[in-house]
Symmetry: C2
Subunit: 420 residues, 2 copies
């Protein structure tokens, strides 16, 4: 194959390390200038391809590209945009092909979760049918850690580290004050479908009595009586109770905890999330003074406390994606394979996009303790290596310095895209 | 004066660096074993003195004491407990004197905010009247940065750094996604009476368009129309709007913003804080998709991202307090004095407790921009040096290792204290 261009796009919710994958892609592509011409990045993800908004990353200096490794969020812009099936929206796929052909793009690298891998797979198939074969490689990314086959997902280790560090620190705060002030602290973390992030917070408990004392998982139906009993036991025993609650925590009937109490008499949605809901429930039933925190985007953008392991793996999957493409592989995604043995080792493997697309990996039940309120040793063995190591960004004037890109767009060659 | 014991207590809301002050006190006292016998720390602050719960810090190893420098929250326990005036509660003061006499305590070091300095001052006076003179030295501490005379308060620089880093990171997250998802992000920060913390978040804005775009200060009466207009302008201009709101943000009539809309038709207090209140107001009026975060205790316990300047100053005021006591000073507090000139320099000075007690330092109006939504260059000049430098704790297994104390109590000599 003659020299062709590469298109890279970021998709879905961003992470603290998705730009490390971008860095891996661009730096590796630059080492292969004989085979890869320009590396384009989609402005705001795949929507950038539809709009023919192609950022010419060759215009970014080596220094700026290197800085992507320690810059959180999606430097080229991401989007929440799922392509429909080819049957349902043929026009979009045709447009993508038109843009790829117009700009001599033969490599498509898609950095996202399950939906994105599905899209990449479809484009691969379509390109073959159209007689303009495009090498499609997925790059795993999601704080939700729910992609199959890969041992873990880049992005997860850093949010895991953030939540474990945060509940340890806030727990010490509450412990200091509990004799005369706040006795209950509730921290809400992400994870609408699975308790991976909530579970990782459990790493902060190293000795009996350490925060968090209780974790509420989406996997375990909320039992109010049992929960309140446990809260009371903790306060009596340790003087306070630090709780981590997943935003996906559910009632027995599958409804979200916060939704259940989240409407007033007029059906207006109340303001808070599940953390204030749980905190006020405790106040009402047990009378304890409480505080709560909702970390929200802070947790997934916290590059300042990223896991070094996560950063390395994010870079490695970006690098591997380019190498896979150059090796003639297609419709695959680099995955992280954990070695056997006590010492943590990992290497890059590969999975077929068809096997990855639209499959959600749930947290095993044996990661949750029998009483449903904490994690097991099996969970610790899994989580702990993923948060190892610190990879601090550079600071200037007391603040982390994150890459500022030119984001210069390639000249358009096609007509303006009008969405259906 | 013959060799006497020292009593140290932590008071009020804790910070990321109050233990660095404790470290300064203990390490400095240990250098003067000829003059200072035991260093006692009150278990849970001044309440520990009333209960005769005196932690014998001599039982803590040099290594553990050194680790206090990088341990957040109050390692000996703090409390929300303000002694009443002597006239109102003579019994409590008598009890304190009894405990001090019983344990040969001649030095009283009180680490807290304005209330605590008032207490220390009263005890100093009383001890003279009783003919058992106790050297009383205050040690400044408060994330609120509202003590007078001192240029800044230990504890503030680290929370300032945390909020500036956090809004920078979350801002990048929103910027990545705004083309197709969240357009407005609201982060709530502490500061019920003054906008010091909210203002410090403004440091994250280094270039036009950087987050935060809007800061809501307690000092500026909330103007809904003007605010919504500004939000809309930001979304049109930058694609998104990142907002920092102080928990103390107020309406024109002085009521808190969240309180105003924080009750349902039955008068029940709603769940959320001011961040969800502001976010839903924007959704209702402008229709933008939003996210919000409430950092709560996470911000004041975030030792992992502490300001090195703050840590140094916290240690220095602890060290100075012991040196003041040994130099025969009394009823004073070490303060931080900022040098003149462009390059930031600071040194330790002293203030009389009588001048510090119960005086709140408000943020100057000229720190807030004319439109009321951001900070000025004067504010930057003030804030910026306080967040300089990183002082990372040690990590093990991916998590910061914080001091674990024995907290061994001295044998009691008095009858049990029964509070009034």
């Amino acid at each position: 194959m003659s020299k062709a261009n590469l298109f890279y796009a970021q998709s879905g919710g961003v992470t603290a390390v998705i730009n490390a994958s971008a860095c891996g892609v661009i730096e590796t592509a630059r080492k292969h200038k004989d085979k890869i011409g320009k590396v384009y990045a989609g402005l705001n993800g795949i929507v950038g391809a539809l709009n023919e908004d192609l950022i010419d990353t060759n215009k970014e200096s080596a220094k700026v590209v290197a800085a992507l490794r320690s810059t959180p969020a999606g430097a080229f812009g991401s989007c929440r945009y799922k392509l429909k099936s080819y049957a349902e929206n043929k026009r979009e796929y045709e447009r993508l092909m038109d843009v790829f052909v117009a700009h001599n793009i033969r490599y498509f690298l898609y950095n996202g979760g399950g939906d994105s891998q599905d899209t990449a797979n479809k484009i691969s198939q379509l390109s073959l049918e159209k007689g303009y074969p495009i090498t499609c490689i997925g790059i795993p990314k999601t704080v939700d850690n729910d992609l199959p086959i890969t041992d873990n997902c880049p992005g997860f280790g850093s949010v895991a580290k953030y939540v474990a560090v945060s509940i340890r620190e806030a727990g010490l705060d509450v412990a200091s004050m509990c004799s005369s002030s706040t006795k209950v602290f509730v921290m809400e973390v992400m994870g609408r479908h699975a308790g991976w992030i909530a579970g990782a917070a459990g790493l902060a408990t190293e000795q009996e009595g350490d925060a968090p004392h209780i974790i509420l998982f989406p996997e375990i139906a909320f039992n109010k009586e049992k929960f309140l009993r446990k809260v009371k036991t903790c306060v009596v025993k340790y003087g306070y109770c630090a709780i981590v609650v997943s935003e996906g925590a559910q009632n027995k009937d599958g409804s979200f905890l916060a939704d259940a109490g989240g409407k007033d008499a007029f059906g207006h949605v109340q303001l808070g999330g599940v953390a204030p809901f749980v905190a006020t429930m405790i106040k009402q039933e047990l009378g304890y003074k409480y505080h709560w925190a909702v970390a929200d985007y802070l947790q997934r953008s916290a590059r300042h406390i990223a896991s070094a392991t996560d950063v390395e793996q994010a870079y490695a999957v970006g690098e591997a994606a380019v190498e896979f493409a150059l090796a003639g592989k297609n419709a695959v995604m680099p995955v992280i394979i954990r070695g056997k043995g006590k010492k943590y080792r990992w290497r890059i493997g590969e999975a077929r996009l068809a096997d990855v697309a639209n499959v959600e990996k749930m947290m095993p039940r044996n990661y949750i303790s029998r009483d449903g309120f904490h994690i097991t040793d099996a969970a610790r063995d899994y989580f702990s290596p993923l948060i190892q190591g610190e990879d601090y960004p550079d600071y200037k004037n007391g603040l982390p310095q994150y890459a500022r890109l030119k984001k210069q767009l390639e000249k358009k060659k096609l007509k303006k895209w009008i969405p259906s």
